[in-house]
């Protein structure tokens, strides 16, 4: 249904508009920008931070709205009012999934905020694989989706490699610098706009693994800490007060499940919906196909990681799916839904016993699939050490860090991994 303030992104706009994209995951989104550029869009990743963002969020969004909405909208308004961009030549892009969580209202809330700030003419492109609205100047077609898919797989791999290298590198900052270089290289590659050769992609995977393996490291026992939760605060340093950096500074190795799992989760939910409630059989077939295809792609990454052998590979999604059983039904599909529960279990089973479950304050789905599942998880896995951290404009770092410190104080360092060279 058309939205009140819906402003389409026209073909003319494509020529000279800058599209601003919020940073949920720095590396992934740089690569996605690369894909967008290959199709002739001018896109820019918003990497701003600072108190003005929250201020603007509080000013233009209902204060009880979830924190990610407040941040993303605050960041957009802050950018548009900064003078750096011509608001008449700027469009905004937002990624969202849709569904029963209030997060599916982000686009509407951005538009309301824009209207309140007197910039209702700024088009907002919703990037949703469910295709919520039509923009003539921006069609999400198969080639684009294909490109973004690889952006996500590359991003996941880079993220995992940085996480597994950073605590051990002899020269601090080396892993991140290498990731930066790879990110630039891959973005350029994806930005060339040619057909993507899967052979080349796999070559890249291997090369990345070798490059990271080559970084001089000193292995030592560390505490492994898994980070799960609501998708924005889990990933975005802006949303979680730079959680990862804090954990690394405390000497921990962070383990963050990849973004591809969230995509797989969305696809899997369509399949579950059909199983539970019936519906369009053809659509179901397509979803199943897409699901199997994407699982295959992830399993290729896993296989290549195992072949190389220096790093822990993620768990196949088909295995993660099974983890939820006995805890929560796959029908729980709002927000991060059953995936959040499954991820905590997957971490626990793969030896990551310390888990931070992040959520915006008052996050509705996480009452159930996050905090609501901690008791059964701890009961069946007594060695798991979970802490729930709420993020909010008023929540302070000192309170959050104190709780994280408690979790770390209870953590038992795991021996250095055996297969590491």
């Amino acid at each position: 249904m058309k939205n009140h303030y819906y402003v389409p992104f026209t073909k003319e706009m494509k020529k000279d508009y800058t599209i601003l994209v919020p940073t949920m995951l720095p590396m992934h989104f740089k690569l996605i920008i690369g894909v967008l550029e290959s199709y002739g869009y001018q896109a820019e990743l918003l990497e701003t931070s600072g108190p003005a963002i929250v201020e603007n969020g509080l000013k233009y969004v209902h204060n009880d709205t979830c924190y990610p909405a407040l941040l993303v909208i605050g960041q957009f308004i802050d950018a548009l009012q900064s003078g750096k961009y011509d608001p008449r030549k700027t469009a905004l892009m937002m990624f969202q999934t849709g569904g029963g969580c209030r997060a599916s209202n982000y686009i509407s809330l951005i538009r309301k905020a824009l209207a309140k700030a007197g910039m209702e003419y700024v088009p907002v492109i919703s990037m949703s694989f469910a295709g919520i609205e039509k923009h003539p100047g921006f069609r999400l077609d198969l080639p684009k989706i294909h490109g973004m898919m690889y952006a996500i797989f590359y991003g996941d791999l880079l993220m995992s490699l940085v996480n597994q290298t950073r605590p051990y590198e002899n020269t601090p900052g080396e892993a991140e610098a290498l990731a930066e270089r790879w990110c630039a290289r891959l973005a350029a590659e994806l930005g060339r706009g040619k057909r993507i050769s899967y052979k080349k992609v796999k070559q890249n995977y291997r090369q990345m693994l070798q490059d990271f393996a080559a970084i001089p490291k000193t292995m030592r026992p560390t505490v492994k800490v898994g980070v799960v939760g609501e998708i924005f605060v889990k990933y975005s340093p802006l949303g979680n007060n730079d959680l990862e950096r804090f954990l690394v500074r405390e000497g921990a190795e962070t383990v963050v499940p990849g973004l591809a799992d969230f995509l797989l989760y969305c696809l899997y939910n369509s399949i579950v919906d059909y199983r539970l409630y019936g519906g369009n059989a053809l659509k179901d077939q397509v979803m199943k196909l897409a699901y199997r295809f994407l699982c295959g792609k992830k399993n290729d990454v896993i296989r290549i990681m195992k072949e190389e052998g220096s790093f822990d590979a993620p768990t196949p999604f088909e295995v993660t799916v099974e983890m939820a059983k006995g805890y929560i039904d796959h029908g729980t599909k709002m927000g991060e839904g059953w995936l959040l529960t499954a991820e905590m279990l997957e971490l626990a089973h793969s030896g990551v016993k310390n888990i931070v479950c992040t959520q915006p304050f008052g996050c509705l789905p996480n009452h159930i699939c996050g905090k609501g599942m901690m008791k059964p998880i701890k009961e069946k896995n007594p060695d798991v050490n979970i802490v729930a951290i709420d993020y909010d404009p008023g929540a302070t770092k000192v309170n959050q860090e104190n709780r994280l410190k408690l979790m770390l104080a209870n953590a038992v360092p795991t021996e250095k991994r055996s297969h590491q060279r």
């Binding site: 939205n3 509407s108 539970l276 029908g331 905090k371 008023g394 929540a395 302070t396 408690l406």
Partner: protein, 974 residues
Amino acid sequence: MSEVLYLGIDIGSTTAKVVLRNEKEVLFDCYERHFSQVREKTAELLERIRPLVEGKKLAFAISGSAGLGLAEAIGAPFIQEVFATGEVVKHLEPDTSCVIELGGEDAKIIFFDGGMDERMNGSCAGGTGAFIDQMATLLNVTVDELDALSEGCTRLYPIASRCGVFAKTDIQPLLNQGARKEDVAASIFQAVVNQTIAGLAQGKRIKGKVLFLGGPLYYCKGLRRRFAETLKLSEENAVFPEYGRFAVAYGASMYAEQQQERFLLDDILERIKASQGQVVLQDRLQALFENDEEYQQFAERHRKADVPHKEIASYAGKAYLGIDCGSTTTKMTLLSEENEILYSYYASNQGNPVEIVREQLLRLYELCGSRIQIAGSAVTGYGEELIKNAFSVDYGLVETIAHYTAAKYFRPDVDFILDIGGQDIKCFKIRNGAIDSIMLNEACSSGCGSFLETFAKAMGYSIEAFARQGLLGKAPVNLGSRCTVFMNSSVKQSQKDGATVEDISAGLSISVVKNAIYKVIRAGSADELGQHIVVQGGTFYNDAVLRAFERELGREVIRPAIAGLMGAYGAALYAKKCRKSSLISPESLQRFAHTAKSALCKGCTNQCHLTVNSFGDGRRFISGNQCEKGLGLGEQKESLPNLYAFKRDYLMSLPEGEGERTVGLPLALGMYELLPLWHGIFRALGFKVRLSGMSTRRTYEKGQFSIPSDTACYPAKIMHGHVQLLIKEGVDAIFYPCLTFNRDEGDTDNHFNCPVVAYYSELLQGNMEDLAKTKFLYPYMDINKPKNMAEVLLKLLNEQFGGFTKKQVASAVKAGLAAYKTYMDAVKEEGRRALAFARERGKRIMILAGRPYHIDAEIGHGIDKLATSLGFVVVSEDSVFDLAKPQKVKVLNQWTYHARLYRAARYAAEHPDTELVQLVSFGCGVDAITTDEVRSILEEAGRYYTQIKIDEITNLGAVRIRLRSLLGALEEKE
């Protein structure tokens, strides 16, 4: 080698603790408030151990939330405080099964049985030392006095302890209505206990030997008693050790023992001193005043807004009295015929407004002598009814009207009034000489006067001195604009960063203002407020707040010199219409005596807690009642249609029926709407259907042990109690399905349930151990697809019980859906009947718009009855929404219940005789989206939007003020 001593330093949010020991014994310990002067205090305490450590080496470690920053700054070993506690207890009392430690702002629990489990309170949880401090401030006693008072308790009132702000809203009216301080004091402790159990234990039972640690538990005997009683602990199992206050510091000293590095005392002091220069200047704001000159100009401008005063001794004739009995202060003014102020009074009501007013009246009569006759009197504010009854005041008027009357007198073209009092923020727009829209702060966001006062006290200042400090702040800290509890931790953070008291004071003033503008008024710009803004309320006496407000708006405003007296001034003006005053005579006043007793109303199942005030001469005033029954007046004269009551009666009259097997349906969340459906299905299948019934406060308490997420909404949390009840009744199965989709009513983008309504069963299954005693059935299905329902139910029931046929289940589903339709039709028909009734008799109509579960007597707190007692015909959103066209909204219209809200708002917008009042449960994330929409639908049509936020406990006094303000505004308009 010389002896090594172990030094543990624990710096919490409010206190600093030091323990010095050797291998055998503790040599020194102390516990003192640090008033945010973390580094200074630490250095001071360390100086005290100097005689003990002369020439000896020290190993030391720091712990505590405020110690974190210090440890970082001086590079000292740090141990997390809960972990430290755990270590100490394992060492000193190895047979402990659970530790409860309450600190200044943190609450912690450690379970030792079945694997150690350490937890801290979440970010939104009161129930700590700071909370007790706040409450003591409210009662105008010290914490020790509070404790002593609690000894004399005879009954307990339910008080919310989730955050101090909520509790205040509960306590204030209790005090204003004359509840005994002894009972309130004990109730405050009980609230802390409940909070600890619900917020921390989260489903894990507290049993065995329990150790209670931390300052508040050391000092407050009353709190100890409440814990021991509530947890049913025997004397030997409730342990309050002597070292309770120092446990963390002790733990830190144990940690110090493991450290390699050794220090001399002077090394440590040196480091602390050196760290004082490191002030983080991040996240700071512009100073309120650049220089003194700027301040003088500002002060000069505001001095001009004054009213004429007249010496009371030189006046003779008629005079008019206005009383404003507010939440924390009592204000009075006496006006001459020419509206000059003859006498005024402004002071804290010290928890006993009746006594204050009595004293003042005595004094007034003395001053008036025979020269001045009090010809009229009016009272407004929280204590309006109590004072009106106690002293036979001529008029009682709602606060908003009183304030507008005063502001109008000041500035006839005023178009916006903002009043920040001790407890509330009120603001209203004026259009065409009538109040146009009223906004009051929600219970959760009261960053108001009492909030500043509490902070001032916590830092060891009077409010006046604290405000003056704020004017000097060079770089005010940015504290955000959230509720008090959050603010506490923001302040903690800034202290950690080394902010000065000046900067914190200024920062707090700015945050109060931001809270008012962005959270209560929800304005984007100054123009949205108005051209001629009058600000008032005691909080605006604080120049820092006033300046921050002007700064934030970029506009000059008027602050009358009598900012704090405006309610009383307005009341006095209002009283001028009086012909013959009935105010208590000087003679009766001499004999006046006031006693308050508590009682339980037996009028209905609600069992309201009543407070019966007697005034010596046989007159009585009863408060605390939800309806008129408790007043001893019997039934209301005229009963007005009330859809909430209709729905309750309909649902509760569904027959249980007979059957071999009993299925239990918890009457909570979505069940409130779909009960006829599930009831119909199970009856058709031959089940006996047992309902858990309407909720009471007891229902909640029965289930609170198993709530894992205390920030979920009350309607969800109360579900635990309903399920517990059904388990206890021994039903064969409990049924609450998971419904991603609600009914498709065909007018929306989608038709979801909210995540909590949809999947709460998953949470129950994971957290309620007792569910193992029965079958808990929570299938996933789509209630828009009878075939899907039948398939799912057939499979489920045959798995669980066996013996059902496909045909049987299909026809049962059909019967259920028919019953559901009959119910919804009946609701709509009754809605139409109510509308017609109102229109025939010229009654006002109120759409009390919420969710189906808001009809619950406990969740809705009887607001529907309150509305009918004020003369409204009450209809529900689901009874009238179909009379309006589908409403276009600016957001994704994807939840069934919420779509009805929009359409109901459309109906109200189109009908001048219909008002909409929206009920919002605290913590309802979806309503953050719907409220703005509903408001804009109504306001675009030039109508009032009234929102009432409800939670565990809602004080009907505040709701009454809101509804009466609405009524007052409507009357004014006519």
